[in-house]
């Protein structure tokens, strides 16, 4: 089944999530400024930003879907496709690189079964991405698993760490 199937989009902005969005309205002079916060809410609820969600955000914020797509693709953290149950972002930029970050990234690919960067493991459990500097260069190797910021990851600590994310 393709992601473009005619499946009906169940609205994200209802109940508490709608209230959360509306609470932000008075904090900004334009609706457009709510775009990044709204997309975060979608991703927190659904794990990714679907086409249906883009249309819903467009309607809420009085923007066009094409405009929103243009913005989403500028940023690395929004997913426009479903990803593994746990999304791993590991830093390999130079300061981490000189302390062995590429070996950690390779260990992640091996132990998750993802095989290559950006791919999802066959069991749907993990997706591993290489990212640029996470702003924790003194704590090599840092990575994000979902919203958990984890520091000091080594090749040896990878298996036990992954076990915490069923």
């Amino acid at each position: 089944m393709s992601s473009h199937s005619a499946e009906v989009h169940a609205p994200v902005f209802v109940g508490a999530t709608l209230a959360k969005l509306e609470a932000l309205y008075p904090k900004y002079p334009t609706r457009m400024a709510l775009l990044l916060p709204a997309l975060w809410m979608v991703q927190e609820e659904r794990g990714w930003v679907s086409d249906g969600a883009i249309h819903e955000v467009a309607e809420k914020l009085e923007l066009t879907p094409a405009y929103i797509r243009g913005v989403i693709t500028f940023y690395t953290m929004y997913h426009t496709h479903p990803v593994g149950r746990h999304f791993i972002q590991v830093c390999t930029t130079s300061p981490c690189n000189i302390c062995g970050a590429e070996a950690v990234a390779r260990a992640l690919l091996e132990h998750t079964g993802c095989g290559e960067l950006g791919a999802t493991s066959p069991d749907g459990r993990f997706t591993v991405m290489e990212v640029e500097c996470l702003g924790a260069c003194g704590f090599t190797t840092p990575m994000l698993i979902d919203d958990d910021f984890i520091e000091g990851v080594t090749v040896e600590s990878v298996p036990a760490l992954l076990a915490r994310y069923p």
Binding site: K27, Y28, P29, T30, M32, A33, L34, L35, L36, P37, L39, W40, L61, L63, G70, V71, F74, Y75, T76, M77, Y78, Q89, T92, T93, S94, P95, N97, I98, C99, E102, A105, R106, L109, L117, E130, V131, E132, C133, L134, G135, A136, C137, G138, F139, T140, L144, D147, D148, F149
Partner: protein
Amino acid sequence: MGYPHPIHPKETPVLSTHFGDAGARTFDGWTSRGGYVALKKALTMTPEQIVDEVKASGLRGRGGAGFPTGLKWSFMPKEDGKVHYLCCNADESEPGTFKDREIIRWTPHALIEGCAIGALAIRAEVAYIYIRGEYTEPCTILQRAVDEAYAAGALGANAFGSGKRLEVIVHRGAGAYICGEETALMNSLEGRRGNPRIKPPFPAVAGLFGLPTTINNVETLAAVPHILNRGAAWYAGLMLGNPKSTGTKLISVCGHVQRPGTYEITLGLPMKELIFDACGGMLPGRTLKAVIPGGSSVPIMTPEEVETCVTDYEGIAAAGSLLGSGGMIVMDDTTDMVYQIMRLARFYAHESCAQCTNCREGTGWTTRILERIVRGEGKPSDLDLLMDLAENMTGKTICVLSDSCATPVVSGIQKFRSEFEAYLSGARAPVLVGV
């Protein structure tokens, strides 16, 4: 303090005094540690008085450019009848830099207080803190602190009963280094792609939402309450011989030192003492090869240059590099300079917003040429080609990301040429690129 290490005698803890002390994170904890006294004082001062005090302190921007903060604030229009904004730059994404994160997660109220005072100084009622999306834990801590500050009446329509409105709003980014550039940050906050804007107009004239705006780094704003509390003269006296570089600076040191961490030094400390004393020096059996002192965008220094360098704005400039953000990357003799310069180029190529041809094409070509050198497929003319490209990437684009990519390449080729030549001649075995 050299978080996560204990305070070293070579340090001067001011901003970092409470790093690692979770009790300082709450409103009550912060208040009992002397917090919010400065804001209460600022609420009784005129904007001019605050600006003059900060001017007299000599405080300079800690985000990279080192522009005098009081002077920047004084550019904001007076009695123009327009809404003004303060933006706090918490995008911290420059490789090697991880100091703002410690301020945000250990002393969030110091930042909130700094934002509130900064807003008063520039006649703004609203301050937006733009925090990078990857800082999940700091963002949660900061938002909790902001909520507490509202609940305690420090922020809101009537800040501390002063009749003045002060709002601090946390805005989360979504992954893009370029959003740390001030005008890109404003575009991103407005709900746009994070493309830097052509200047002029400068933000003080037309910034966020087209209105007069000042943007300051986290560390800059966090220093302000201390200046109001202890006086401009005290702050200006924190220096080691150079009155142009006053105060303390957080230096986040990473790479091949015994104790990586965020150190707070009085500006002017010899770089050698920071690296070899405070950070414990090199790992056993290793020797120093190179230092990138101010985030990845500044020229690479050799051990000889480090030997006599003092760590302040003018001192590092005299040694041929820049203090920049204070993100210090230390590399020892195990480092493959060519590979790491390639990796830095790839960072800039990945982060280029691509609106300027010289940046978009230049960062891409620089990366591809460096990759082929590392793979053993370089051509003898490649070093000249890289230098040529670098020249075309410098001073020709909307923002300086393009220049930042050229900088490590040029200084790398100039100072570590033999390592490039070893790849080109085949004396050094080729290496696989990437993960």
